[in-house]
């Protein structure tokens, strides 16, 4: 499966300047991609566009070669396949219980309760949350919250996962745990796109680094390759 951005321009309502200025990008399932760039370069906007929260006013977003439809069922289809983990897990965890929070996505997709329960158990195991399912969200540590937020998105079994600086606020002990989950996810065939300020992490972890500047792709390529500098 492929997620394709073709000359995507996105403008925030009420603002004149575009947040994305003609982004051309192809992302394939199973890829490990790092998204780098300074604050305001368009990383978050790109993620919200990929998920259909923001709609391009020019250009197109293709899922598996077909343009995304922005009606109810089209958006549901897009969000089933493209998940976003936000920077601050407290902005994402709406439910007071971990178990219930994770179950929101699957139920929104119209799965039965039994199926949703199975999904919750599955991702809880995947993210190491089995013991924490009954815990109130506010009683989790920072790393646990991040994993819970991640699990809530993974329960929808996306093919593309955008993670917005999720490793930034984690301490050096928690970071490898979360990265390890992302690695396993990529190995299972999901594309993982990690936005980060950390160049060392980007070049060590990713197969491809995409550098955004002023709302468009400034450079992209294999980290460390000579073509990177030109």
């Amino acid at each position: 499966m492929q997620l394709t951005f073709i000359d995507v321009h996105v403008r925030y309502p009420g603002l004149d300047i575009s947040a994305l200025n003609g982004v051309n990008l192809e992302i394939n399932t199973g890829e490990r991609v790092a998204l780098v760039g300074r604050n305001g370069s368009g990383k978050s906007t790109l993620m919200l566009t990929a998920n259909g929260i923001l709609r391009p006013h020019q250009g197109a977003l293709l899922l598996d070669g077909r343009p995304v439809r922005y009606d109810r069922s089209g958006l549901r289809e897009l969000r089933r396949n493209v998940g976003v983990v936000f920077q601050n897990p407290d902005d994402q965890l709406f439910s007071a219980s971990v178990y219930q929070d994770i179950s929101l996505g699957p139920l929104n997709l119209g799965l039965t309760q039994a199926e949703a329960h199975r999904r919750v158990q599955e991702v809880a195991e995947f993210c190491g949350l089995q013991e924490l399912l009954d815990r109130p969200t506010h009683a989790l540590s920072g790393g646990e919250k991040t994993r819970a937020a991640l699990a809530g998105v993974l329960a929808m079994s996306p093919r593309f996962l955008f993670a917005d600086e999720v490793t930034n606020s984690l301490d050096p002990w928690m970071r490898p745990q979360v990265l390890e989950i992302l690695d396993r996810l990529a190995d299972s065939g999901c594309a993982v796109i990690l936005a980060t300020h950390d160049w060392a992490l980007a070049s060590a972890w990713a197969q491809r680094v995409i550098w955004l500047e002023g709302g468009s792709v400034f450079r992209q390529g294999k980290p460390g390759a000579s073509s990177w500098l030109t």
Binding site: I53, F94, T137
Partner: protein, 237 residues
Amino acid sequence: MRQIDAYAYSNRISKLHPAYKVGASLLALVLCLTLNRPLASLLILALMLGLTIFWAGVSWRFVLTLLLTEGSFLLAGVLGVAISVSTMPDAGGAALGPFWVRSDAASVWLALNLFLRALGSVSAMNFLALTTPILDLIELLRRLRVPEVLVEVMGLTYRFIFILFDSLERMTLAQEVRLGFGNWRSSLRSAALIGTNLFIDAFRRSRILETALQSRAWDGALRVLPRKYNHPFQKCN
């Protein structure tokens, strides 16, 4: 607040179906209020304290401290029942400035009864608060067919209380290190500043959360799976 909440989800009987715990405390409350006798109140007080400390395994120090605080509130309240005040000179009273204060055995007895009754009821409510996670109470309301919108707003309120409390603590600390609570004027100004920022923070969060929910294919209702409980006489899983 965090301590009560922490006991609620970490005590020995936290996974027990909430209906049993709610039933027990409501029964105790109703008995305490309707029997309305000091001895009954004392028995209920002892029973509820026992259940909280020995069955649920909540620290006795914490339970008693909580009860003591509540008792001191109650004391101020029953005071009004124990004494009579009037501006008329009163043969049986004592003069206190322009007022005549009096009290008699019946009033004191009434106040004592009231004090014990309230203390017994409070211990029943403490049992509920310390053993039952609020999540379970909300879930129970959902199962009792309380309208979904109310249940959702309650759940969200509970979740946000802790988020906003974190913000409040951060902001208060930030003001304190700048001596924001030095005197009355600056205290009031700091309080207003914190209140304002808290409101803006709450509003901003509701916007971001909406986006985050949309990204999970949310379409209006907050559907989640029901929680699972243990029942007495059944092996815990």
